[in-house]
């Protein structure tokens, strides 16, 4: 029986780093799952994620809850996926589910959710308006700050049999 999640790569930052890149991603799976546990930064910001080092166009829509009424926002024609707030005082946990990532027939759609105990929970949808197979994923801080040491990044593949 195939394992549910097959770990493709995982890394823990040994020091503050500008980015993390998963490259040469095999097309052997059906979906990808990206799990990130990001330690506080020196400032509040968003992640900036790119596929195949391209500047989009990406779009996202999300719904957020912060202890009061829910809210929603969206962005289109983005040059990176600016989903995933990261904070100066709380660890955030992010899970991205990237659907059918290796097909070359459709734009790529993914679902994500993230949150922390101090600020908010968020669930959303992302589109990369490109039919290319995803072979690399780069993760950075949108504003250019470094990702904090000891943050963890894991990429899993799941396969329909």
């Amino acid at each position: 029986m195939t394992a549910t999640y097959d770990c493709i790569a995982a890394t823990t930052l040994g020091s503050d780093s500008a980015s993390v890149t998963f490259s040469s991603i095999s097309g052997a799976f059906t979906d990808l799952i990206l799990v990130m546990n990001i330690l506080p930064l020196s400032t509040n910001d968003n992640l900036g994620i790119k596929f195949n080092s391209t500047n989009g166009p990406y779009g996202l829509i999300q719904v957020t809850g912060g202890g009061a009424s829910p809210a929603s926002n969206r962005g289109s024609n983005l040059s990176s996926i600016t989903a995933g707030a990261i904070y100066d005082s709380a660890v955030t946990t992010h899970v991205f589910h990237i659907m059918n990532y290796s097909n070359t027939t459709t734009n790529k759609t993914m679902l994500y959710r993230y949150g922390n105990s101090s600020y908010t929970i968020v669930a959303g949808v992302i589109i990369w308006r490109d039919n290319s197979a995803i072979t690399s994923i780069s993760i950075a801080v949108n504003g250019g700050s470094n990702l904090s040491a000891n943050s963890t990044f894991s990429l899993y593949g799941i396969k329909a049999e």
Partner: protein, 124 residues
Amino acid sequence: MGNGSIDTGSNYDMHRMWGDGGSAGTSSSTGQTKINWWECVPNTQYIAANIFGAAVIDILDYANTNKYKTVRGLMGFESNTNQSRVQFASGLWRSTSAVTNIKITASATFQQYSSFALYGIKGA
């Protein structure tokens, strides 16, 4: 859902939190003949045909015969227009039968290249 066949009785309930990029809200429906998860399939009347919806649905403890079946879903689509949608939802099938059948429908035909995958996960 069903056991041996699809249960079409009024035995399904749903709660959701949704967003459209500007507004957000919550709603529920009870006593339904299926779990009606709105907003997760784009309507080509408004959305380009190459925009696909995405959904991940977890059916918890599906084979248990002592309790009703709880379902959790995250779904939506981003269309580069203000017709985009996202929702986080829960569902309930008020039956203690094990789930052996799952039927997925939409109000219209699913498009070519739509894909569906069912995975099992197992506690050690």
